[in-house]
């Protein structure tokens, strides 16, 4: 059930209708949201609701166990076991067939006449996200950053809350659970969430979908057929597509949660204006990069050691961050590219000089970082390493070919970059400007806007890119 569909619209109206009689029953309201979230998740495959429930039970019991003792060694054992169990679930459902495939490649290369059987497990949508939620809670309880949650419904809602269930943002337990501990405000904000949802719809349905169908998908399907200009524009196009796709999902998730009375953290902050890869990761998928920083990079030792020690930690973090995105070596390579870039950047910093702080230096830095990120997106988007090699070879060969890119797709890239340049507080400022708009007019305006966005977009809507992670 995708956000930009009639099914989701009907589902959300039922949820809003449920919230009316439950407005003053805090506990029942949360229970209804858990039931709605499981219904939402069951639309993909109801069997995986059991996995989600199992993950929630594990998280709840783990937290209770950690809170039940003050003996540090026992707490450490419990957090170790429960986090390992979360990772085991994730590995089994997401990486087992990938490992089998990789082992079979090695066996084949070694000339062994045997092949391991594939388990053919269908990836449960959103498993990477709810697993990270569970781990975040357990580690935060262990560290004392969040109180033990003794209400199972809160943990079930924290892991399953439908706006963020399948593609984030990854909301920290310390950010979300306190919101569940108290009744939500009697009045929810309207203008800003509606603007976020409509803006997200436009970015996804119009920009991301057209760029995918008219430029990116055809070029990446067979890059050998295209010329340098198309290949460059398809890389730019994918950079805009993935931003408009993923940030759209996040905007809609933040807006939907706000309409239900809950706050989510921001996940994007103009990532393509970063002047370094480090800054890029402070602006792109912020909830994941800060999760990796706090639960992986820092526990590994962070930058508290020699420069080689820091480089090792950066590489481990980015390689694992890469494979988090998908069970394929190309994602490992993508993580490796970013990791290597971060290491080089750190080592080169003392030689960057004052020039880097001039307007021209900053502009050059933005351009360089954007192109490194685009190079990474080629790895990320291509079906295989072979496609990446063909893509890059054809790119430098400069062959004659019929153009795939058009003024229309070029316009979409420019429009996407223009929307990306809009400061993240603009919806809030706009909301304050038009906050006095009568409530019923919001209904008319939203209805007109939804219709217009559908008319502007192509037929059908592809799943969000981050659903596969």
């Amino acid at each position: 059930m995708l956000f930009p569909t009639l099914d989701f619209m009907l589902f959300f109206i039922v949820v809003l209708a449920l919230m009316v009689p439950l407005a003053h029953s805090h506990g029942l309201r949360k229970l209804a949201l858990v039931a709605a979230s499981y219904f939402f998740y069951a639309q993909w495959n109801w069997h995986y609701c059991l996995l989600l429930a199992g993950s929630s039970v594990l998280t709840y019991l783990g937290g209770i166990g950690i809170g039940a003792t003050s003996v540090q060694r026992v707490r450490k054992v419990i957090v170790g076991i429960t986090v390992a169990m979360h990772l085991l679930l994730l590995s089994t459902f997401k990486y087992l067939d990938f490992l089998v495939g990789s082992a079979n490649h090695l066996l084949h290369a070694a000339g062994a006449g045997v092949e391991l059987p594939f388990m053919e497990i269908i990836l449960p949508v959103g498993i990477s996200f709810f697993t990270f939620h569970g781990i975040s809670y357990l580690v935060d309880v262990y560290r004392g950053d969040v109180a033990v949650c003794r209400r199972p419904v809160d943990i079930f809602l924290y892991l399953s809350f439908f706006p963020q269930l399948v593609a984030g943002p990854i909301v920290r337990a310390s950010f979300f659970l306190p919101q569940l501990a108290r009744p939500p405000a009697e009045r929810v904000p309207l203008a800003e969430p509606v603007l976020l949802i409509l803006g997200g719809l436009f970015k996804k349905v119009v920009i991301a979908t057209y760029l995918a169908t008219d430029l990116v998908d055809p070029v990446f399907f067979d890059p050998s057929r295209f010329g340098t200009v198309d290949l460059v524009l398809a890389a730019y196009g994918y950079a805009v597509q993935i931003y408009c796709d993923f940030s759209a999902y996040t905007d809609m998730a933040i807006g939907l949660a706000a309409l239900l009375g809950y706050r989510f953290p921001i996940n994007f902050n103009q990532p393509y204006r970063a002047q370094s890869l480090r800054e890029f990761w402070q602006r792109w998928h912020i909830s994941l990069s800060s999760w990796l920083r706090d639960y992986l990079y820092k526990p590994l030792g962070g930058s508290r050691g020699s420069r080689w020690f820091t480089a090792r930690n950066l590489m481990i973090t980015m390689l694992l961050g890469g494979i988090w995105h998908g069970a394929a070596w190309k994602f490992v390579a993508w993580g490796g590219l970013h990791g290597a870039g971060l290491v080089i950047e750190r080592w080169a910093k003392p030689w960057s000089g004052d020039w880097a702080h001039t307007p021209l230096g900053r502009a050059v830095a933005i351009l360089v970082v954007f192109h490194i990120v685009c190079l990474g997106w080629i790895l990320f988007r291509a079906d295989s390493f072979a496609t990446v090699v063909v893509y890059l070879e054809t790119l430098v060969r400069n062959q004659d070919a019929e153009m795939q890119a058009t003024p229309f797709t070029l316009g979409l890239i420019v429009l996407g970059l223009a929307l990306h340049a809009v400061p993240r507080d603009v919806p809030g400022r706009l909301a304050r400007l038009i906050g006095d708009y009568p409530a019923w007019m919001w209904g008319v305006t939203a209805g007109c806007a939804i219709t217009a966005i559908d008319a502007l977009g192509p037929e059908g809507v592809a799943p969000f890119i981050y659903f596969q992670f």
Partner: protein, 77 residues
């Protein structure tokens, strides 16, 4: 912070927006219903009848015009 709304008002706003979208967007509504969990012979027939009604009233024109303009921009290369 902009003034907020109660859950009851929010439901009302959502229903108004659906009614407006269903009136001005009756053209895609019929195909949406086709692939929707709300789909079914009776609902589908109702969506088709609703589309015919809005077309007679000319309410589908803004949607069609916008769609044709976008298709024109896409094809004009």
């Amino acid at each position: 912070m902009a003034p907020g709304v109660t859950p009851r008002q929010l439901l009302g706003i959502a229903l108004v927006s659906c009614a407006v979208a269903a009136t001005l967007g009756a053209t895609p509504l019929a195909s949406w219903v086709d692939g929707s969990i709300a789909g079914g012979t009776v609902v589908q027939q109702a969506a088709d009848d609703w589309l015919a009604l809005t077309q007679r009233a000319g309410l589908d024109r803004p949607y069609t015009a916008l769609r044709q303009a976008m298709r024109g921009a896409e094809a004009a290369d």
